[in-house]
């Protein structure tokens, strides 16, 4: 197995952790800001890897310790990387809707399961819709500049969330030239 190091990218580390967990029958999906970093080609930098897993906490804990991580409050930290890992409470959901099908990326360090670009945009927009978080809006815009997304699906979901006005603001912002 590849050794965790300071030079490892967030995607490489995420894939290594995801593969290690999968090898122990622990299904985990990367969500949150780390996915934005991956899809925005590092235009946005996150140090925080959020994995959603329905596995039992003690099983996750054992697997993470095998990789050399130790728990510090809610996070797992490792002496050879500045990235830290958290397992927010399941379920994997965007708004009120459960997420079943996610994306995958094959990296040299393993197979990474993560939100698709469209799901990632909706995940960020949820923060913008509910908390008026302008950073989350900018992150959603970043993803659309680097990856095609399903605009119809995002629009449909935004209607369901009751935030058509904010969706339009996001759509207009995404058309801005870089």
């Amino acid at each position: 197995m590849t050794k965790i190091s300071q030079t490892m990218s967030i995607a490489e580390l995420a894939a290594l952790v995801c593969q290690h967990l999968a090898d122990r029958n622990i299904d985990a999906v990367l969500t949150g800001g780390a996915v934005v970093t991956i899809y925005s080609e590092n235009e946005y930098q996150s140090n925080d890897l959020d994995f959603i897993s329905t596995a039992r906490e003690k099983h996750i804990d054992t697997a993470m310790r095998e990789l050399g991580f130790r728990r510090k409050d809610r996070y797992y930290v490792h002496p050879d990387t500045a990235f830290f890992i958290e397992f927010p409470a399941p379920p994997l959901a965007i708004g009120n809707a459960p997420v079943f099908r996610v994306g995958e990326q094959r990296l040299p360090t393993g197979l990474l399961k993560l939100l698709t670009p469209t799901q990632c945009v909706m995940d960020r927009l949820a923060a913008f819709y509910h908390w008026n978080d302008p950073q989350a809006l900018r992150q959603a815009e970043m993803v659309t500049r680097h990856h095609p997304v399903d605009w119809d699906e995002i629009h449909r979901w935004s209607v369901g969330e009751g935030h058509v006005d904010k969706f339009e603001r996001f759509r207009d912002g995404s058309k801005r030239p870089v």
């Binding site: 809610r74 927010p88 409470a89 379920p91 959901a93 708004g95 009120n96 809707a97 459960p98 949820a126 923060a127 509910h130 908390w131």
Partner: protein, 108 residues
């Protein structure tokens, strides 16, 4: 009301927040005359579970519902239904705190 299902502290805290939308540990502990540490622990658990979110206002951590929690409508519906079974006395005593502003310096 939901003590057997959720535990006494969690049940009271959730019913309280369902009534007033947001609150901090000292206020909730004083409202129910229960220990501050028990309320703080329960609020942290509810935040870790994704049910609540918090932010610091000054040096007070204020908790409120997490609008992104997948089961929020259902859990609030359950709490709302449970509050219908509270006696008038319980409702007035524990779940109807003053939430309108009070001007600084105004005599009580």
């Amino acid at each position: 009301m939901l003590d057997r299902l959720l535990g006494e502290s969690a049940s009271r805290i959730l019913l309280y927040l369902d009534a007033v939308e947001e609150g901090c540990a000292p206020e909730i502990a004083a409202n129910f005359a229960i220990s501050l540490s028990a309320v703080q622990r329960q609020l942290r658990n509810l935040e870790a579970a994704g049910v609540l979110v918090s932010r610091l206002i000054g040096n007070v951590r204020v908790y409120r519902w997490n609008p992104r929690y997948a089961f929020l409508p259902e859990i609030r519906s359950l709490l709302s239904r449970a509050r219908e079974f509270l006696s008038d006395e319980e409702r007035k005593r524990y779940y109807s705190p003053r939430t309108r502003p009070r001007r600084a310096g105004k005599p009580l």
